[in-house]
């Protein structure tokens, strides 16, 4: 899932302080799971902004709400009119949600309250770790299921650098050396010899380096198109 973290209140305050009526809109999927932007955190931010407004003697209206996902149009349908009643929507969704809503809401700005960080897993309650970088070309079959793109600070493909120290990465003793893990894992799987093979320079064009990406599932899209056409026929539910 997508993992994010709340922006500092001061930064949020600077975004909203000049708007009379702000709605803090939570997203109850990924960012809720990582406790950054679900219903609960939307209310927390709203509450903090109200207190801040009080303390600075500003007459602001701040309210909160949440929808299931801010990255699909259907979830907005029941609330879009409501959203447009406000001067600003402060979205606690990931960047996807903010972009997405911003493009659809009309003449109201949508600002982010969350810093979207990574695709991660929950290592333990409250601890989220990055495990995938969304490079578009997965090779972790070659690396014992451990992604060197996401988990090696240098995205090395052919083994550890000289910075491995006691199994940790040179950037921090709190970060595991991915290659240390890979080697140990491959030993465990009895496939260490696979690592002797040199991985050639990667083709990064499938990653973000190749420009904004899009995935089209044609059979689903065809269906949508047909449905749309049907509804546009006389007697359809246009």
């Amino acid at each position: 899932m997508i993992v994010g973290t709340q922006k500092p209140l001061d930064e949020i305050w600077d975004m909203v302080k000049d708007f009379k009526d702000t709605l803090v809109l939570g997203c109850n999927t990924c960012v809720a799971v990582c406790h950054a932007g679900g219903d609960k955190e939307a209310e927390t931010i709203s509450s903090l902004l109200k207190i801040r407004a009080q303390m600075e003697n500003r007459d602001l209206t701040v309210s909160h709400s949440a929808i299931m996902r801010q990255c699909e149009p259907e979830y907005f349908e029941p609330v879009m009119q409501e959203l447009r009643q406000h001067d600003l929507v402060l979205s606690t969704a990931c960047g996807v949600g903010v972009n997405y809503l911003s493009a659809r809401i009309g003449n109201i700005p949508v600002y982010p309250a969350v810093n979207t960080s990574f695709y991660g897993g929950v290592q333990e309650a409250g601890l989220f770790v990055e495990l995938c970088a969304g490079c578009g070309n997965c090779i972790i079959n070659l690396t014992g299921g451990i992604c060197p793109i996401a988990r090696c600070a240098k995205t090395l493909m052919n083994g550890p650098c000289g910075g491995t120290n006691k199994g940790k990465c040179e950037i921090s003793d709190e970060v595991d050396c991915a290659w240390f893990l890979i080697v140990e894992r491959m030993k465990q799987l009895g496939t260490l010899e696979k690592l002797s093979e040199i991985q050639p320079p990667r083709n990064w064009s499938t990653a973000r380096d190749g420009g904004p990406r899009k995935i089209s599932i044609e059979h689903l899209r065809q269906y949508e198109k047909q449905e749309q056409e049907k509804s546009e026929l006389p007697g359809g539910n246009a």
């Binding site: 491995t164 120290n165 040179e170 050639p200 320079p201």
Partner: protein, 324 residues
């Protein structure tokens, strides 16, 4: 076509090679490089011009190398994977060759977070590149040199003929995989290897035994790294904090004794420790050179280039061979 590198010739002659290290300054003035080049000239076969080591901005390795070359010191330019993508790397390699550089050491480079181990601000917020890793970089150099082709496949009119080097941390974790690591770099095309500083000769010996079993020492020239210790504190730091380096307690003990011999005299303490450090370095050089499969030493007198002359002489590695 210019002559082949001096370093390559020394190695091919079968005599133990000596490389040194020259750190460029954080300055737009190249005088310091020129000064250091003079300190090293004649006491090594080539000197590495580091590429923004510890992720701190300094005069670039290529520019520094050219400055050294002009002073008659053969440079080993360094190329990290951290700062350039394969386009910039290859362009710089072509330029470096055109400027007369013949040795290139391929390394991953310290992560930008490293910032001189926190002693300087550095640029921890920089975007890193790592488009290719060391092994791949070695492969690119080889492909350019031997096939006259860029990584992408386009032909080069004139191929850069680099003597290709790579680094190796024999004592790094996972220990057993370090042999594979070297094997891959050699397979990719590394002509010479400079190792991380060795204090624990036994570990290195054991690793070299594996290397020789695989015959890698025949396919590449391994230069054992010797870091010249300057103080007990430095040794302790290296032991605890520098990746892939472990310092036997006996060595630390020797430095402490040297310091203690000076009593409260700080100046003397420094002196005694430096003297002891040079003695240790010389001993290490001898021990490393005795290990089967070793073709030379890479002596790192970090920010202490002036010590090189004495060390090389004491080690009996002076004068350096000259080829015409």
């Amino acid at each position: 076509m210019n002559a082949a590198s001096n370093l390559q010739q020394v190695i091919m002659s079968g005599q133990p090679a000596v490389t040194a290290e020259l750190g460029p300054p954080m300055s737009a003035d190249g005088t310091e490089i020129i000064h250091k080049a003079h300190l090293l000239k004649g006491f090594c076969d080539a000197a590495n011009i580091t590429d923004c080591q510890t992720a701190v901005v300094r005069i670039s390795s290529i520019a520094g190398a050219v400055l050294a070359l002009r002073e008659g010191l053969e440079p080993v330019m360094q190329m990290t994977c951290r700062d350039r993508n394969r386009i910039a790397i290859q362009a710089d390699l072509l330029g470096a060759h055109a400027l007369g550089l013949r040795n290139c050491l391929c390394i991953a480079g310290d992560h930008q977070k490293f910032s001189a181990a926190g002693r300087l601000k550095g640029h921890p917020g920089a975007k890193n590149v790592y488009d290719v890793d060391t092994c791949q970089l070695v492969g690119i150099l080889k492909k350019m040199r031997d096939e006259g082709t860029q990584q992408g496949g386009d032909k080069l009119e004139v191929a850069p003929k680099f003597f290709i080097g790579a680094s190796w941390t024999p004592g790094g974790e996972p220990l057993d995989f370090r042999v594979v690591n070297l094997q891959k770099k050699v397979a990719a095309g590394a002509d010479f290897i400079q190792t991380q500083g060795i204090f624990d000769v036994e570990i290195f010996k054991a690793q070299m035994k594996e290397i020789t079993k695989l015959g890698l020492h025949e396919r590449t020239a391994i230069l054992g790294g010797v870091i010249v210790p300057r103080s007990a504190m430095m040794l302790k730091y290296m032991d605890s904090s520098v990746a892939g380096v472990s310092v036997p307690p006996a060595l630390i003990e020797r430095m402490i004794k040297a310091r203690e011999a000076a009593g409260d005299d700080k100046k003397k303490a420094k002196e005694f420790q430096e003297e002891e450090g040079i003695r240790i370095a010389v001993e290490l050089i001898h021990q490393v050179l005795e290990i089967p499969g070793i073709k030379g030493v890479h002596i790192q007198a970090i920010e202490w280039e002036s010590a090189m002359a004495k060390i090389v002489q004491m080690a009996g590695l002076y004068p350096r061979p000259v080829f015409t």
